[in-house]
Symmetry: C4
Subunit: 197 residues, 4 copies
């Protein structure tokens, strides 16, 4: 199996991240029949969902980019797993729209569960992606110190449990689940140990 | 006729592939009037269509990219055929939405046939694209061994018959036709002989 | 006024061209209430409009790219005119959708006129864009022969009259106007003298 | 905290700018029930909003790009603030659609206020973005003269007051507020002192 450099995987991934983030805006819509100022104020769940998903995608992009910089080559399996990761990122505008439309209405639990489930799946695939690349330094570039790999291990480790907690919380309080997702994006992820080595 | 390098064709093609894959998410929609959890479970044809098309586009992008790496220059005819190929890739979100909306409902045969027809046309144009470039090594870079060209020939050869089989199958079972498309994307394409040389 | 290289203008323009072409697919939609196979066959104006606009954008991208390769630097005026050109390219999905929805129905003349008017404005701005760059070799790279500039002059000259003819024809036969636009994209533009120097 | 070069931030930002500008076209829609020629003429608020937002995004992209060229490295805080800036740019298609749909109808004040508020927030974040990077030359590349930084200071300074004036004006005349935004994009921004050093 031939191995290639990472530049093409990066370019394709960058495109998907940027487009998925920008498509989030299409979730917004106002229904006629009400006064517009009233409508715009009552859209706050949509604003919350938009900001949460946009910041989350931005930070996952940052992490993806940082991690790819440690990778020296890709093989076909890596490209395939990367495609699965992008598949979940590109899917995010749909559950984001569900949260924006249904939070504080009938169906909010299903919407928050769909949103959390997407994030859990994304975190799991991101873990698989990283473990495939880093196991026995399979695809790691020469010269990258082990400490840099351990830093990524530590930074990625909380992803699945955290989004799992969001999923569980959604059963009890959909709003709290979305708020926790926002807090993760605003406070945890930017401070993650990823770059601190 | 002036010949050029391939970098611009690659950049434009990469953009179209990434955008088409990301636009697939716009196929999802829920109608009001039902409970959301019920709606989300009954969207499974849309999930199946989304995953199938996303993975298919991802793999065609991988193949396109690999093949372009063998090409040393492009002429105007090649750019034109490449545009036709991109035209079919960029069209894919529409039949994908049809499959997602109509599978297991009235009209599923027409939806599956439209989906399969798009894939057949895409495979035919991809063949023309490759044959134009490789015939007598017209646009092939110097130093590429003939064995690499034969490997692409072998990898591309099953495309039209396979998607032709999907098309025929759609007359009898639209669901089986979509499932076969998924299986091709999940099992055949990743294992194709393309990179094995 | 500081002058810069062309690489950023190219990257931004490439993005707009690729996204505008890919968004064309969003024009497609089927209304419920009819049988899907019947609907898909009666969408032929939408297919015609899609292919025409996609190929047109692809060729304008090719021409833009070729011409930029003759340009050695950009100034703020050039960037501004380039933004106006991109504004019309990015607008094309809307009149394309109008043609797809209205051709052979009430309103087809207005739809075809809107489509033709967009193309006329695009061709006019493309002329201004080129004349600003090439007048007295203002932004032309050193070493580009005058014959290359004359070739672009000749290739761009028929744009405005041709799309002007489409506009006039739309008053008499909207279908013929769209067919002529398709013919220009399929036959004239690819054979334009642009690359033949 | 590790610092990185700016190329990835630029590539991601370029993608968001280009996609947000191109998504603006999705604001256009015609309702059935009226004659199409009548509809298209009465869409002028949508045309005005489209041109205003497209040109505004184009110029912000130019300014962003110019300013990034003065920056030699980014840190995590800078990436985070940049993401917030992109979040507001990517949001612009929504208030643009509101202006297009509501100007000269009930609700026009709310639409114009939403549009102006988005631009004010964008201008504020752009100021924060620049001040974080330039304070004590924190992220400025070596060799950039202070006069270049002062030129950016002067060019960015009027942003918040100008869009603040648009916001205030929207209370009295929504149409005048949109027209002022257009005038800023067409006359002020292109002549800004940014590049004149």
């Amino acid at each position: 199996m031939t191995e290639q450099g990472t530049s093409r995987m990066e370019a394709f991934s960058d495109g998907i991240f940027a487009i998925a983030a920008t498509l989030l805006v299409l979730e917004f819509g106002v229904s006629s029949g009400h006064k517009l100022d009233h409508e715009l104020l009552h859209l706050w769940p949509a604003y919350l969902a938009y900001v949460t998903s946009f910041v989350t995608i931005g930070i996952i992009w940052m992490n993806h980019h940082h991690t790819v910089s440690l990778i020296g080559r890709v093989d076909r399996t890596m490209l395939f797993v990367n495609n699965l990761l992008l598949l979940t990122v590109a899917f995010l505008p749909f559950p984001t729209k569900l949260v924006g439309d249904y939070l504080r209405h009938d169906g909010e639990k299903a919407a928050a569960l769909a949103y959390a489930a997407t994030l859990v799946i994304m975190a799991v695939i991101h873990q698989v992606w990283w473990r495939y690349a880093s196991r026995n330094r399979r695809l790691i570039a020469d010269g990258v110190p082990d400490s840099a790999l351990r830093a990524v291990d530590r930074a990625y480790a909380p992803g699945v449990p955290m989004y799992g907690a969001v999923f569980v919380l959604a059963f009890f309080s959909p709003l709290a689940a979305v708020a926790l997702t926002f807090a993760i994006a605003a406070f945890y992820l930017p401070s993650a140990a990823l770059f601190d080595r």
